[in-house]
């Protein structure tokens, strides 16, 4: 069945391909758990991609590049946060505007960086572990960001489940009025969550421009932010499910490339649209039937909070 496709290579490639989506999805998951719907993930990602690329090229350091990417994403999120939390702008409109703004600004900033190679992000040296057949290839041949992305899933899960910070975050997303009545600073908590989400999206974007591609072209994120948004819903706001979702979608996009390389007799266009098509299908299936309750959505999601009286 695997005609011409090496499973170890495929799994290893899908782990790399999923990193940007995982990072962005975990960031957005935290934001949405705090009750804020930021549809600007794509814009924050591409700003992270361009900022990360520029910083890494200028400084010659990949690590500095990722820091720059995170800051770029967080700066975009800051704009969104001020608009929605302090000026009480509509979250959906602000998020969409953020994406359009990010696409344009990144294209402007990246103009003189087209065709340059960024400094390499090398694999973590695992020594003999990397030589284990199959598993060495699948598990121990990646760069540090791959492991960091999985660690971020575990961390998000643990914080949400077991810590007071996570409890307060969920409480704010569940009912901002009740949280306010108990004396929690709804705006501050949401603002921090938004900045975290932006930084994570920025990291994801930087990974695309610095490792996945690696070079700068306009519109380099090509919809990864939208897939990350979809995965948050697909995952019913649970971190481990987001990881599964990201691997599923990462897997499809990698498989699609591999199938093309293996000369499958399916038109390329069908394959490249398949991840998006499946995203839509999954969302439709999940939101039909029992309705939103089964989806476990945070009850205040997308509602602006204004402390009255």
């Amino acid at each position: 069945m695997f005609g011409g496709i090496d499973p170890a290579l495929l799994i290893s490639a899908l782990m790399v391909a999923s990193v940007p989506i995982i990072l962005a999805a975990i960031g957005e998951l935290i934001v949405e758990r705090a009750g804020v719907l930021n549809l600007g993930v794509e814009g924050m990602m591409i700003m992270g991609a361009v900022c990360g690329f520029i910083v890494s090229v200028q400084s010659g350091s990949a690590v500095m590049g990722f820091v720059g990417g995170a800051i770029g994403g967080a700066a975009m999120a800051f704009i969104f946060g001020v608009l929605t939390q302090f000026l009480l702008a509509n979250q959906v409109a602000s998020g969409l505007a953020l994406t359009l703004f990010g696409l344009g600004l990144s294209s402007l900033m990246g103009q003189s960086f087209v065709g340059i190679r960024p400094p390499a992000t090398g694999a973590v040296p695992f020594g003999p572990l990397a030589d284990i057949p199959f598993f060495g290839r699948v598990l121990f041949s990646h760069d540090w960001v791959v492991y960091a992305s999985i660690a971020s899933v575990a961390a998000a899960w643990w914080v949400l489940k077991a810590t007071r910070t996570g409890l307060i975050l969920r409480a704010v997303g569940e009912s901002h009025d009740a949280a306010h009545a108990l004396g929690y600073k709804v705006r501050r908590i949401r603002m921090l969550a938004i900045l975290f989400g932006g930084a994570m999206a920025g990291l994801g974007g930087a990974y695309i421009s610095m490792v996945r591609v690696p070079q700068w072209t306009d519109g380099i994120t090509s919809g990864a932010g939208w897939i990350a948004l979809a995965i948050v819903v697909f995952a019913a706001w649970r971190p481990w499910r987001a990881l599964v979702g990201a691997y599923l979608f990462g897997g499809i996009s990698v498989l699609q490339l591999n199938l093309q390389a293996a000369g499958a007799r399916i038109p390329v266009e069908y394959l490249s649209m398949s991840p998006y098509l499946i995203t839509i299908l999954v969302l439709v299936i999940m939101s039909s039937g029992k309705g939103k309750a089964a989806l476990n959505a945070p009850a205040s999601l997308g509602q602006n909070f204004h402390a009255s009286r």
């Binding site: 007071r164 969920r170 108990l182 004396g183 939103k292 945070p298």
Partner: protein, 518 residues
């Protein structure tokens, strides 16, 4: 003050909290003006007043949610200026909210932890919740989702949350508005136990009989000012009501309307709840004749919202589950039922009964278009619509700067008058109203009830769903109660006792469940 009063034990107890000359103004309204009162340790002190009298603002200042413009507070002789609820809790002040302070998707222990400063680890907290809740006769299972609890159980969560912090002063904001009579008894036992242990209780309510049985002292507020202080046991409910309102009360009159043929019939109606954590209706059956008012009681969350949705047509059922004048309409939507004369006013004013950001004129159009003929060939007749809206504002004394303000801008009570008025003004033959006077002051409540009775006298069949038993007993001809989605058989109001009503509503609702969980 007379001599015997000086000997009353509560006056000998040391003073806990003193509020002096506190004033708080909001743009356009002075919520509290020069308010002073004091509470001793172990005293149960009532804060009495109508909606908008400034009770909530006052307790929010004591709880640190709102800062006073001027005036001072002292707690045990020391200056008390809580900057936020956290500081108030640290000083031993705890508050049980009327609503808005529980998280449905979190469990009991998590909800309690959120209201504490330094909660112990979850396991330890769970065992402390069990211990404290049983000590005070309020059994709770820490692992249950709050969304699955009854209103009475939810209130227990809030009380236990406060008790775990060993408060010196417990503020309770309208605690009994959602309880059955039996649950009220349990609550009062708990409060008396707390008071005997030295905890002072500041008890906000407008239910005068309760205050007379429970409270040692009362401070009465009207329009932000203290108008009287009294000892509730020594006053009649009527005297206190008149102090509260500043006028004499006239109870609604009922014209002895003759009952006609059955106008609304519900047969074996079962629908799944469309609301998350909602209650599905199970085999609900009743009949309402022309000119009859059926009152449906029940603790909040027992299917009231679902019943309204099923009657209004927002949730559809089998054709013959709902009949208007004998014609099966269960499968039809709101417009078809409206055409047959059924109007409905849901409980949730903003977002359900009215579109918050649309003007009163537009809101009037939304439900009145069909029966008042406000559209012609698909175009809106704005002149007619404005006249309709202006008529509602005038007839129901809606206080608004004009008919073009957004529904959101009206106070809760005024918007309630508007949405109820809008439905009653459509010459209906069947009226379904959920919580007709929720959050409306006494004078306006009386006029809404009068309007409902007038429609009934005019031959309309009326279903009033309410959590206010006094209201139902005042206006209903027959009485039924919803309990976990089931409706008891309607009985004539005449001759019903409060105990019977309590049993119909499900007794101490949720008690058994809580016990079994141990």
């Amino acid at each position: 003050m007379t001599r015997p009063e000086l000997l009353r034990p509560e006056l000998l107890r040391p003073e806990l909290l003193r509020v002096e000359g506190v004033t708080k103004a909001y743009p356009g309204v002075v919520a509290n003006s020069d308010v002073s009162f004091s509470i001793s340790e172990g005293e149960i002190h009532a804060l009495l007043g109508e909606n908008g009298a400034g009770k909530s603002t006052l307790v929010k200042m004591i709880y640190g949610l709102v800062k006073p413009d001027s005036g001072r507070m002292t707690l045990r002789g020391a200056a008390y200026t809580p900057a936020e609820p956290r500081a108030a809790r640290a000083s031993g002040v705890a508050m049980v909210f009327q609503h808005f302070s529980l998280f449905e998707a979190l469990n009991v222990a998590e909800n309690v932890a959120l209201g504490m400063e330094n909660p112990p680890p979850m396991k330890e907290l769970a065992s402390r919740i069990k211990a404290v809740s049983e000590e005070y006769g309020l059994p709770l299972d820490p692992a249950r989702m709050v969304g699955d609890l009854s209103a009475g159980e939810r209130q227990r969560v809030e009380i236990v949350r406060c008790l775990l912090q060993d408060p010196k002063l417990l503020i309770m904001d309208e605690p009994t508005s959602v309880l059955t009579p039996q649950e009220v008894d349990i609550l009062f036992r708990t409060l008396r136990q707390l008071s005997a242990e030295g905890t002072a209780i500041l008890y906000i309510s407008h239910k005068l009989e309760e205050i007379r049985t429970l409270c040692d002292e009362a401070t009465i507020l009207r329009r932000g000012k203290v108008v009287a202080t009294c000892t509730p046991r020594e006053r009649s409910a009527r005297e206190m009501a008149e102090l509260m309102i500043g006028a004499t009360l006239t109870p609604p009159e009922r014209a002895g309307g003759t009952k006609g043929a059955t106008a609304l019939e519900v047969v074996d109606l079962s629908v799944a709840s469309p609301i998350p954590f909602g209650t599905s209706l199970k085999n609900v059956s009743f009949k309402v004749a022309k000119g009859e008012v059926l009152g449906i009681a029940g603790v909040a969350g027992n299917g009231q919202d679902e019943l309204l949705l099923a009657l209004s047509g927002e949730v559809r059922a089998a054709r013959d589950a709902v009949k208007i004048d004998g014609a099966g309409v269960g499968h039809t939507g709101t417009n078809e039922r409206r055409a047959l004369g059924l109007v409905a006013a849901p409980e949730e004013r903003l977002g359900h009964a009215a579109a918050p950001d649309m003007s009163l004129v537009e809101n009037a159009l939304l439900s009145g278009a069909l029966r008042k003929g406000l559209t012609r060939n698909g175009f809106i007749d704005w002149g007619k619509t404005e006249a309709f809206a202006a008529g509602i504002v005038k007839d129901f004394d809606v206080r608004t700067p004009g008919t073009h303000v957004a529904a959101r801008a009206l106070s809760g009570g005024n918007l309630q008058k508007f949405v109820v008025g809008r439905e009653l003004s459509q010459t209906p033959t069947v009226i379904v109203i959920n919580q007709p006077t929720w959050g409306v002051d006494a004078a306006a409540a009386a006029s809404i009830r009068q309007a409902i009775l007038d429609r009934a006298a005019g031959g309309a069949a009326v279903v009033v769903i309410s959590q206010d038993l006094d209201e139902l007993l005042e206006i209903a001809d027959s009485f039924a109660a919803l309990n976990e989605g089931r409706l008891t058989r309607p009985r004539p109001v005449a001759g019903l006792t409060i105990d019977e009503i309590g049993l119909m509503m499900g007794g101490a609702h949720g008690m058994e469940v809580a016990h079994h969980a141990h």
